[in-house]
């Protein structure tokens, strides 16, 4: 099992600059979608979609509802397969892998689901789940130590024995976040991490996402409807519209964009093509 090899140990050193990547010089792509097409029944979601997300950054995927942002995350995770085209993740093509072969890639990925997807077991067991699945060799003590370390990091120290049903929306979200990152994933996918949360709680979640990415130099891909919030932590933004990527660039470039849809969407103005 590839557990520790691809990921550098958590390094409390100075945060890496946005441009830093595991292979200095050439910016390596953590995710590369090439000519991807996908349809749900009669509804064409993507036609020839190309998207390249560099390693070691926080990427924000934005766009109006139902343009395929969450679908993109599921393609990257291998939970869905494209009808045509190639999906490369962490240097490997995954769209033609079997479910079992996908396992090796997924061990290097973490995902925070929109509904948190917490299991009906204690908070501690939820966070321990990836560790137990990835490496049978970890001792119980190691697992417990890593779980409590991770829970402390999301400000939920001592919550091990609680049941998910007892928690508030923001707390569940943080448990999901702890579970997604406990195995030191090289690529973490966040599906609407702040949906339905108030501005203060949202900002706390965003800070955690950013802090985690900086500390492990991993890659984060965040899908969010809260455009203003997600732009505060992103290094790179991709905007989806009508099945295509209509904009990629830095948050500042997004705010300054003259493309009408992008401008209207980012600034939330009423007049425009949307």
């Amino acid at each position: 099992m590839i557990l520790t090899e691809p990921v550098p140990p958590p390094d409390p050193g100075p945060p890496a600059s946005p441009a830093a990547s595991p292979a200095p010089g050439v910016a390596e792509a953590a995710v590369d979608l090439h000519a991807v097409s996908l349809a749900f029944g009669p509804k064409q979601v993507f036609r020839d979609l190309d998207l390249r997300l560099e390693a070691g950054r926080v990427h924000a995927l934005i766009g109006p509802p139902a343009v395929g942002k969450s679908t993109t995350l599921k393609l990257i995770a291998g939970l869905m397969r494209p009808d045509a085209g190639e999906v490369h993740v962490l240097g490997q093509r995954i769209d033609d892998l079997s479910e079992r072969a996908l396992g090796a890639v997924r061990e290097r990925m973490g995902m925070l689901f929109q509904n948190n997807a917490l299991f009906d077991v204690s908070v501690g067991e939820n966070v321990a789940f990836p560790l137990r699945r990835i490496d049978a060799g970890l001792t119980e003590a190691t697992i417990r130590a890593r779980v409590s370390e991770r829970l402390a990091k999301v400000a939920l120290a001592g919550f091990e024995e609680r049941q998910p049903a007892e928690l508030s929306g923001g707390q569940k979200k943080r448990v999901g976040l702890a579970r997604a990152t406990v195995a030191d994933a090289a690529l973490v996918l966040y599906d609407e991490p702040t949906a339905g949360l108030d501005p203060v709680t949202s900002q706390k979640i965003y800070d955690l996402v950013r802090g985690e990415q900086r500390a492990t130099e991993s890659t984060a891909v965040v899908v969010s409807s809260d455009v203003a919030g997600v732009l505060t932590i992103a290094d790179h933004v991709a905007m989806f519209y009508e099945g295509r990527v209509v904009f990629t660039g830095s948050p500042d470039e997004a705010r300054a964009s003259r493309v009408p849809v992008v401008h209207q969407f980012v600034h939330g103005t009423l007049e425009g093509p949307l």
């Binding site: 766009g63 923001g170 108030d198 203060v200 900002q203 706390k204 409807s225 209207q264 969407f265 939330g268």
Partner: protein, 248 residues
Amino acid sequence: MPIRFANVHKSFGAKEVLRGVSLTIEDGECFFIVGASGVGKSVLIKHLVGLLRPDAGDVFLDEEEVSRLSEHALRPIRKRCAMVFQSSTLFDSMTCAENVALPLRKHRGLGAADALVEARRRLAGVRMEGFADALPAALGDGLRKRVAIARALTLEPEVVLFDEPTTSLDPVSARRTDQLIARLCRDDGVTAVVVSHDLSSIFGIADRIAMLYKGGVRFLGTPEEFRACDDPVVRQFVRGEAEGPMEV
């Protein structure tokens, strides 16, 4: 129809949500109830139409004590005081037009066909005439919200309660919804009570704001006062900062 909450308490099991909320909302106001997630904003406004009943305290609508009325006696109140839910609550087995036609059929005595004609006219009022025959499941959140607003307005209510009207909407749809609410207050003299934590809406259209915190009213005033307030909890909320005294 002035609205008054008098020392309202409400608990769910062991969880005390409201611990003595007192508020007065004037006629024709665009009144915002704001606060962190789970602080009991929706719980508070559901008391106004009798969907929840207080453990202690009273809720008055036009000097009528809503909290004491039976389900049957609440009906006239509910015709005058409409509610737009966070999840829109459109009936998913009916088309948009049928959704809007239902209260017309039930309360205006219109026949099924007449009600549908009138419903289409109402949908045109929120620029949804093109979706009259679509099922709600086929629409996005923003469009569903507009149909829900059209449905809530069918009986020409004097008060409309909006529960998080812009949550989970993209920025453009959110501002469109704000505009619709503002127009209701300005042009039709409707009292709007809006539950929200969307800062753009709050500073965009609110006449007055009440902020709930830990089961009570922490702040009450105009948007300008809200922005200038030096209470650290209010300030943290207004700025949307992660660090601060606010417990969430």
